[in-house]
Amino acid sequence: MPGLTEYLLLSAVLFTIGLYGALVKRNVVVVLMCVEIMLNAVNIAMVAFSRFVVPVELTGQVFAVFIMTVAAAEVALGLAIILALYAHRGTVDTTNIDLMKF
């Protein structure tokens, strides 16, 4: 039976993988997927804390549900932006998307 530490370790590993992917992947769709991994890492931490620290209350679990909802909306919006970007620029490579500079 895994305890709090194990869950948090899993969460940290997932978060780091997600962060790594979000920072180094060239393809915007992959970056978006990595962001989803990070969100889910957070979800695991939330639920774990809820279960092991304050078992009588459900705040962490409720939070996780909210995050999933928002993540779904975010994915819809993000993919829409990526589609528009592709239609406009013909590429989804992050190195080419560099207009936000001096």
Binding site: T94, T95, D98
Partner: protein, 636 residues
Amino acid sequence: MPELAIWSIIGAPLASFLLIGLGVRPAFGPRQASAGYLTILAIAYSLGMSLWVLAETLGAEGHRLALPTHEVLSAGGFSLEVGLLVDGLTAVMLIIVTAVSLLVQVYSQGYMHGDSGYTRYFSYMSLFTASMLLLVLANNLVLLYVGWEMVGLCSYLLIGHWFHRPSAAAAAKKAFIVTRFGDFFFLLAIIFLFTQTGALVISDSAGEADVYGVVGKTLTGAALTWVALGIFAGAVGKSAQFPLHTWLPDAMEGPTPVSALIHAATMVAAGVFLVARFFPLIHAADTAITIVAVIGAFTAVFAASMGMVMKDIKRVLAYSTISQLGYMMMGLGVGAYAPAMFHLFNHAFFKALLFLGSGSVNHATGTFDMRLMGGLRKAMPWTWGVFLVGSLSLAGIPPFSGFFSKDEILGAAWHRGDTLGQFVFWMGLAGVFMTAFYVFRALFMTFHGEYKGGEVGAHGEARHPHESPRVMVLPMVILAVASIVSWVANAPGQNQLAGLLGYEGEEVQTFPLALSLIAALAGIGVATGMYLFRALSAEGVSRATRPLYTLVARKYFFDELYEDVLVRRVFYRGLAAAMDRFDRTVVDGTVDMVGLVGRNAGRVLVRAQTGQLQFYGVVLSLGVLAILAAFLLWGR
């Protein structure tokens, strides 16, 4: 008498100022004479009230009305209490200010007739009278200072009445700035006095924490001397004493009634009044009172010498005013309080009279240049008559009033018997000779000999002089009567005025009296010889003493000294230029450098902004990690 009645002495002219300033032009339009009537009405009311105050003061115990002070401002331990101080000095000044002001307003009705600035003129005259009355009545240094600055402002506005003339605008500016110079030291003295002693009320009924009360208690030694000198510096500026005398002759650019009221009878006398008001304070500081005497005596002779060579009749009278104010100052300086105030009282009447006379002459000839006048006696018999009375009074010929007060001052100086008294007496005596000479020179050049044509018109035609209208002659006649009889206010042996002021009268000193009479008669004699009988050519004398004459006629080069050397070279090119350099290099340099550092740092740091969102993310993550590491390592 009710306190409100005394406040209304100030209130009436103030109301007149507001009514004229805000209401007359829209309400009456072209019938502007109403402005003059309103002013006269308001000041006549003030005169009536002032007479009541005088009567009450004469009957009051210690010649001082007990009036409360009112707290108008309170902050922490500080409270500003304003009130009115009515003692003998105030009562006398009230009579002088309101009486002369009333006569001058009546005269102005004629003199300013048809002037485009008629309503403006009368509104400022009302404001001036109100300010002067405030200055005289104030029982608080702050309130007194407000009145003090307001009369300065009105002086500026009225000198610059014909502001479209560059010379008038410049003269107004000069008068304002030069007097401000003295005012600044006066203000410093007030602040210093307050920080040292906390006294702002001049004299309250308890007599403890007021200005009179702190002298010799919390205010002693060097502090007392500095406060006394600061107050005197204010008086020097206002009364045009040496070395701040240069503004008064230029102030003659204003309308003549303004000169008569402000620059002869009242505002310039405010300096003497100030010294008199703080006489217990200044008299307690030996150094300060000696300086008052020396400056007064020096100014009396110094200004009179310039009066002897001026060609403009008003400038002669302006220097005469400076000189006579010097007499009052030196009177106060030698401790002759009552004679000095007596001279102020008499001088207000006869000098206002002389100024109004010169205005009447100007009305007839269109000029103030005495070389263009002459022979006006036949055309203007009334003006001639009153001018003669004023001249005799100024010269100090008995039984005219100037004789009594001037000789009381000289007698008091003689009576002292010490070096200072001797110095003041002999300077005063020289001044008496010069005074008699210059005023009779002016009289003869203006009214005797042949008429020289007055102001030359546009087509070269001469002006035919005529007597001034009755509205101008009447005030002059009243002033002439006052000049003859005003000495009864302090008749020898009776000394009512001295008693009212709370000082002992001077005994008549026969020897100095005889000397000064001889000096005055000698001055008149020389003037008669030179300008009436032409036994001695004036041009010849001036040619024979060429360097000296030039020095005096150019006013001892004081204007050049102040304007070229002090203002342009020392102040402008020296001080101001140094300030300018400091501002440009140090202040601006610092600001520029701050900007430069920011811009150059930005030029370097801008390279970090690549537009690669993921690079930003890396930096952000590293930052979070760094903070986390720092927290884990040293945080707990």
